[in-house]
């Protein structure tokens, strides 16, 4: 199983651990993730006005760079932007024409654009994953936190049922964890409001954590560095039992029995440093 891999800026910075754990687990699972050469920003936000073509330049360049091979990313935001940019290229001929002309590339919206969780579900299969788990997370009460970007708009993202998704729960089950469902698992964490309106994010985060706590969760998993930041940093100091937040890949690596110390992280870092682009 070979995929082109787009890391995105945060995975080389704050969310380095999501990348490190994923790459280690992928290798163990026989999934080859080949990092794109000289990649650049995913675009960060998908332009909701269709004349904001400038924001499409970097995601379309990225899509074209995959050369028709399946393109995998880990960060929910990157995946969201890439997937929607691809759909726009398929649907809006005018926009496609302008963007590809400008970039002087030939791209018509081809190729699969996948989140790593989709690779695990659709290509590897959670059954198969479960078989390859070495240290099941027995007795660990874990809840999924999906956030927005993977799920919506569902017609474009095609990730899972937008109201009742199961992919992360199925994933946790495959890891052997005790799955806990919380009603706020698909609600927004406040996103980049934490930059400008910290109070708003504090509210949303409190609701999410409260509802997870009430459901009995000890930990949450996420695929989005910003969600994780908000959940960890915007929570009010209320003295309640903290709910730990992990990247899904961190639990994956743990369940795969991968010793994840600094040494290994550095080894991966070294191996990849030659072809890492700028963020």
């Amino acid at each position: 199983m070979r995929y082109r891999y787009f890391p995105g800026c945060t995975l080389k910075g704050q969310a380095k651990n999501m990348e490190n754990t994923t790459l280690a687990a992928a290798t163990a699972l026989g999934i080859e993730l080949v990092e794109l050469e000289e990649w650049q920003c995913c675009g960060a936000v998908f332009p909701l006005y269709e004349d904001e073509l400038i924001s499409l330049l970097s995601p379309v360049r990225t899509l074209a760079a995959a050369e028709g091979e399946p393109l995998v990313s880990l960060c929910a935001a990157c995946h969201h932007v890439l997937k929607r940019a691809q759909e726009l290229m398929q649907r809006n001929e005018d926009a496609r024409h302008k963007v590809t002309e400008f970039l002087e590339i030939d791209y018509k919206g081809e190729g699969r654009v996948l989140h790593f969780l989709e690779v695990l579900r659709d290509d590897l299969g959670f059954d198969k994953l479960a078989e390859m788990i070495k240290k099941p997370l027995e007795g660990r009460k874990a809840a999924a936190y999906y956030g927005c970007l993977l799920l919506r708009p569902s017609k474009v993202m095609q990730f899972d049922d937008p109201e009742n998704p199961t992919i992360m729960e199925d994933f946790l089950q495959a890891l052997g964890a005790e799955v806990v469902k919380s009603p706020y698992r698909t609600e927004c964490c406040g996103a980049y409001l934490s930059v400008t309106e910290e109070g708003v994010a504090a509210d949303t985060v409190a609701r999410i954590l409260d509802s997870a706590r009430k459901a009995g969760a000890e930990m949450l998993i996420t695929a989005c560095p910003l969600c994780r930041y908000n959940l960890e940093n915007c929570a009010a100091e209320d003295g309640k039992e903290p709910v730990k937040v992990y990247y899904f890949s961190e639990l994956l690596a743990e369940a795969m029995g991968l010793q994840f110390d600094d040494l290994m992280a550095k080894a991966i870092e070294r191996r990849r440093s030659s072809d890492v682009g700028s963020s």
Binding site: D161, E163, N164, P183
Partner: protein, 659 residues
């Protein structure tokens, strides 16, 4: 050689104002076959018609052209006049020189040559006209009603009272339909069973009504007055004649299955009647759940049945019968709200649809008439009703308004308050629609006297928390977000067409709108007729509607059917297709394009080298043919022709118009 008379009408100045009548008459005299031409101020008047009749006699005319208003206006008037003068009515053609000429052109030198061209074309056509017969069709004095809900029952009783035999075909083991599932009816709060049951019994006992329950339509052939229908009576496994309806069998039956009538909220036995007042009160064995049919042993019902009515060997029976008229009254379904993940329907027992909630009020319902939560059996304190679940929703549901939900919600909120006095109802709505006699007053009573809180807005999400449901909604009028800790949530799920409506429509030969509701022939003026003559529609199979509208429509459909059945003979279409069998090569492409299955294949014999040879050709049933002519355009050799619009006639018109 034709002897054609041409008559040009002035229509006061309507025609004469822009068409030079004299010049038109003069030109007409020169058309081939024209032996007489005249004009009159108002040809459609008595005097004008007499002028035509006299000329027919005086000049021995065998065909007539009138240059007048549109044939859609007075063609029949002039045909009648011609017939009175002894001509076949179809030996007349109309040149439309008013709507298509004098009224759309302003200059005399423009309109006159065109009027002449139109007259010339009509004269060329009429020269090729043949006398046509209007076929007379027999009427089978029997009506078929598909669907035994309140619409079907009402229509059947009306037809039966008028003296005609009527059969009701019902798919379920009992008639009664959706109305039988209701506890009370708005806005009067009559007990539904109290007003429906007598009608069901009346239908069962009426000498002119036959109930054919647990049955479906297999096939409909034929045409108005003579529909040949195959009805499949499913094996009941119980002899209806012997059965007394004592109920011992279903008491003793050890096997259970979810009850369809109770929306799956309660169990029934494998041998069962759907509800206590069922008509006929004869059970059926659900073979999928019966131990005997599944595993070959048990037969307890047969052992216990006093009149020995159980018959495991019973087979499906196909009844073939002819009907003069058909009324389709197949009712509606309720949309499954589980498509809305945010409401959590199907994931929590206290989130119900309106119809499910209705059953909780019923004494024979799943809770014995106690309004309690299915999760813990406790009576609810806070009940949230949400309107427009799948109605008015073009994104995921139906774009239309389901019409009945505002009212049944008000009714259920009132009933709830009566059963559980300390309960409080909240209704999230987009608009409250209460058009109907006494409806607005009823809904206001709910709000004013029964303490029902109406919140204008929708609900974004429902989720369980501890022992209640959190309803996250908004009241748009105050601009406030509302969060209610509810004990139950009732979703007013959209009324939708029955899932098998397209199939029923196909069998009966009527069409549907994009939601699969059957189409009426005209939305205002022909509300219960369909485009297929002799087939009528009633009730919620046409669009969502309440009981009063359904019953009114059922009676209307019955009157239409009675009117049809009361005729001795029906007049058919004169302009029908006709196969020239000598030329027909039998490719039968015409059959594929005929919308009326009016064309069939027939084997004919013909001479071949002294012997006879059999071959297949097409044949038109003139009773079924409506005269569209699609077959004629598909026939490469012109071997099927349309009377009144023959290939020869149309080509003659083209030639004449182009001269």
């Amino acid at each position: 050689m034709a002897r054609t008379g041409v008559f040009v009408c002035h229509c006061g100045t309507n025609i004469a104002g822009t068409v030079d009548i004299d010049q038109s008459v003069e030109a007409s005299r020169g058309f081939p076959g024209v032996v007489h031409a005249g004009e009159y101020r108002y040809l459609c008047s008595e005097m004008g018609q007499d002028l035509i009749k006299n000329a027919i006699e005086e000049h021995n005319l065998d065909r007539v052209v009138v240059g007048t208003c549109s044939p859609r206006m007075h063609e029949n008037t002039f045909r009648k006049a011609a017939a009175e003068a002894g001509l076949n009515p179809y030996m007349l053609e109309v040149a439309n020189i008013r709507e298509h000429c004098s009224w759309v052109h302003r200059e005399m030198d423009e309109a006159t040559p065109k009027a002449i061209a139109l007259l010339r074309a009509a004269a060329a056509k009429v020269a090729l006209n043949d006398p046509l017969d209007i076929p007379e069709l027999d009427v089978e004095k029997r009506a078929l009603i598909i669907g035994g809900g309140i619409a079907g029952i009402q229509a059947a009783l009306d037809i039966a009272e008028a003296g005609y035999v009527v059969d009701i075909v019902e798919r379920e083991p009992s008639i009664g339909g959706r109305m039988a599932q209701l506890e009370k009816t708005f806005p009067t709060l009559d007990c539904s069973a109290c007003i429906l049951t007598p009608k069901m019994v009346e239908a069962a006992q009426h000498p002119n009504v036959n109930l054919i329950t647990y049955s479906e339509i297999d096939e409909v052939k034929g045409f108005v007055g003579q529909f040949d229908v195959k009805i499949r009576q499913k094996a009941r496994s119980v002899d209806s004649v012997k059965c007394t309806g004592c109920g011992i069998c279903w008491e003793k039956c050890p096997s259970k299955a979810p009850s369809e009538f109770e929306m799956g909220m309660a169990k029934r036995k494998a041998i069962y009647v759907p509800f206590p007042q069922a008509v006929p009160n004869v059970p059926v064995i659900d073979r999928d759940n019966c131990l005997y049919f599944k595993k070959g042993r048990c037969q307890i019902c047969a052992k216990e049945c006093p009149p020995e009515a159980i018959d495991f060997e019973q087979q499906d029976v196909v009844i073939e019968r002819r009907y003069g008229a058909i009324i389709v009254a197949t009712g509606f379904d309720q949309l499954d709200p589980s498509i809305y993940g945010e409401y959590g329907y199907g994931q929590h027992p206290d989130i119900l649809t309106g119809l499910e909630f209705e059953r909780l009020f019923n004494a024979s319902g799943p809770t014995g008439g106690k309004v309690v939560r299915l999760s813990d059996g406790k009576p609810p304190r806070n009940v949230v009703f949400i309107q427009c679940i799948g109605s008015r929703d073009k994104a995921r549901g139906m774009n239309y308004c389901s019409k009945i939900c505002c009212m049944f919600t008000a009714k259920q909120a009132i009933l709830l308050k009566e059963k559980v006095p300390d309960a409080r109802s909240y209704v999230f709505y987009i608009d409250v629609r209460t058009a109907g006699k006494g409806y607005e007053e009823f809904q206001r009573r709910a709000a004013e006297e029964y303490d029902v809180a109406y919140l204008r807005g929708q609900v974004g999400k429902i989720f369980p928390e501890e022992d209640h449901l959190v309803v996250h909604g908004v009241d748009s009028l105050s601009g406030k977000i509302v969060e209610i800790k509810a004990d139950m949530v009732v979703l007013a799920a959209a009324s939708i067409a029955r899932c098998d409506a397209p199939e029923v429509g196909r069998k009966v030969g009527i069409n549907s709108d994009s939601y699969h509701f059957f189409n009426e022939a005209h939305p205002k003026l022909r509300p219960v007729e369909t485009h297929t003559a002799g087939v009528f529609i009633a009730g919620a199979c046409q669009a969502p509607k309440d009981i009063p509208d359904t019953v009114a429509q059922a009676s209307a459909a019955a009157v239409k059917a009675i009117g049809l059945l009361s005729k001795e003979k029906l007049q058919g279409e004169a302009c029908t297709a006709e196969v020239i069998q000598d030329e027909c090569s039998g490719c039968l492409n015409c059959i594929a394009v005929c919308p009326y299955t009016a064309i069939t294949e027939v084997e004919i014999e013909e001479r071949h080298h002294g012997g006879t040879l059999k071959r297949t050709v097409a044949q038109v049933n003139p009773s079924l043919c409506q005269g569209c002519g699609s077959c004629t355009a598909t026939c490469r050799s012109g071997s099927i022709n349309l009377k009144g619009f023959t290939n020869e006639q149309i080509l003659a018109e083209v030639d004449a118009i182009c001269l």
